[in-house]
């Protein structure tokens, strides 16, 4: 890297994460909106890893336990997310099967992998290349909410299919676990600070980081 653009951290400035106002970090609170000012999100890596591990743990019951129970003429049938997707595939509804597979199985898994990757890059375990990892981060933040679709489908089916003894649907324990996965990965993505990737790049290029210099004083 030849030229490096001036960073806010070089001058002890912080951009308020709520209103965007740039102010000296030692003020403590934003002069405009009163939110706490931080050069970097506090304990970003630790929080991200903690939330992400909890999400990864919940991902197992979310896929193993039934997401809903269908009672048809006294026949009780418990379906998991995967079984729901396969039944769509078998009936020829390929686009829907692909939507469910992407939203419920692929996106949560990719989010967890992406967050591990980002944390590893920000701590220098693997090579940080911010331009590429930036897209990974953007993807994680943008697509996370769409996983919620399965929870909504369960809610809609439970509300509509209440046909007495003929057919009824009740939510299963995986709904709670899966909702937890979505919410926790969303919080994990919010607590990750992409600027740590650039700090790591500076450290690798032996550019002195004013923040670490300050803490050494």
């Amino acid at each position: 890297m030849s030229a490096r653009f001036p960073r806010a951290v070089d001058r002890g400035l912080a951009g308020c994460h709520v209103c965007g106002r740039v102010a000296p970090e030692n003020l403590g609170n934003c002069p405009r909106c009163g939110s706490a000012l931080h050069i970097r999100k506090p304990n970003s890596i630790q929080r991200t890893i903690a939330l992400m591990s909890a999400a990864a743990a919940l991902y197992i019951p979310a896929n193993v336990l039934p997401i809903m129970t269908i009672t048809e003429l006294g026949d009780v049938d418990e379906t998991t997310i995967m079984e729901g997707m396969i039944s769509f595939w078998n009936t020829g509804a390929y686009p829907i099967a692909i939507v469910i597979f992407t939203a419920s199985i692929l996106i949560p898994l990719l989010k967890i992998v992406a967050l591990v990757w980002l944390c590893a890059a920000a701590t220098g375990k693997i090579d940080p290349s911010p331009s590429m990892l930036g897209k990974v981060y953007w993807f994680t933040e943008l697509l996370g909410r769409w996983s919620m679709i399965d929870i909504f489908v369960v809610g809609i089916l439970v509300a509509l299919v209440q046909l007495g003894t003929y057919m009824s649907i009740t939510p299963g324990p995986a709904a709670l676990a899966f909702g937890g996965v979505v919410v926790l990965t969303m919080f994990a993505a919010m607590s990750f600070d992409p600027r740590l990737l650039w700090d790591q790049l500076d450290r690798m290029n032996n550019i002195p980081n004013p923040e670490t210099a300050l803490s050494l004083e």
């Binding site: 209103c19 809610g155 509300a159 969303m186």
Partner: protein
């Protein structure tokens, strides 16, 4: 003076030159005004720093008012009705959340209510409360508090996800039952577009700059 403030495209708050920091790579920029309809991008990583939206305040107010009216329509008119086994059941936003709560998943049901009913109401009401007085160059009491909470609730507005969920459920049920869209459903589709337009119609930096100017 107050009347003219509202027509000004994007007033810069007093107190010398302002900076803008890229939220992604921390690069420090001087915050120059950009023409309407364009965005300022980071020199280092290319992320959008701020955007100057055309007719921002008018659009934010208009779209959020429309969204609020549509919310009333969504909750009063039938959303979706299903005829199966000589029975008729109907769906609305509230029944989806309520039946989850009643059928043994109170936490999931509350989350659904939060993401599809409460968050859009907070966002639409908040935008009206903040932007409508700003049209006249005034800041409503507690406007900064409201704006701060709006930015916190924004990621949890999931009405577009719910709409996709309705479509998936439709395909799931189409084989076993007769389904009819009601007025509420079309209002919901319009609501989704209005909410997206309302949130996108004003940039965060512009809203805060206007609030700061109106307060001073």
């Amino acid at each position: 003076v107050r009347r003219r403030l509202s027509i000004l495209p994007w007033p810069k708050p007093p107190g010398g030159p302002r900076h803008s920091v890229c939220h992604f790579c921390d690069t420090l920029h001087d915050a120059f005004p950009v023409p309407e309809g364009t965005a300022a991008r980071c020199l280092c990583c290319g992320a959008v720093l701020y955007q100057n939206r055309p007719a921002s305040l008018v659009r934010a107010t208009a779209f959020s008012l429309t969204a609020l009216v549509l919310m009333v329509v969504v909750h009063t008119f039938p959303f979706l009705t299903m005829d199966a086994a000589s029975m008729r059941t109907s769906l609305s936003l509230t029944t989806a959340a309520r039946s989850l709560i009643e059928e043994g998943s109170p936490i999931v049901g509350s989350a659904v209510a939060l993401f599809t009913i409460i968050t859009p109401v907070i966002l639409a009401c908040g935008l009206i409360y903040v932007c409508a007085p700003l049209l006249f160059g005034r800041a409503a009491p507690g406007a900064m508090f409201v704006t701060r909470w709006m930015s916190k609730t924004e990621p949890w507005n999931m009405i577009e996800v719910f709409l996709l969920g309705v479509l998936v459920s439709l395909l799931k049920l189409a084989k076993v039952a007769d389904l009819h869209f009601g007025t509420g459903f079309w209002a919901f589709a319009a609501l989704m577009l209005c909410m997206a337009a309302a949130v996108a119609s004003i940039d965060r930096d512009e809203l805060w700059d206007r609030l700061e100017v109106a307060k001073s």
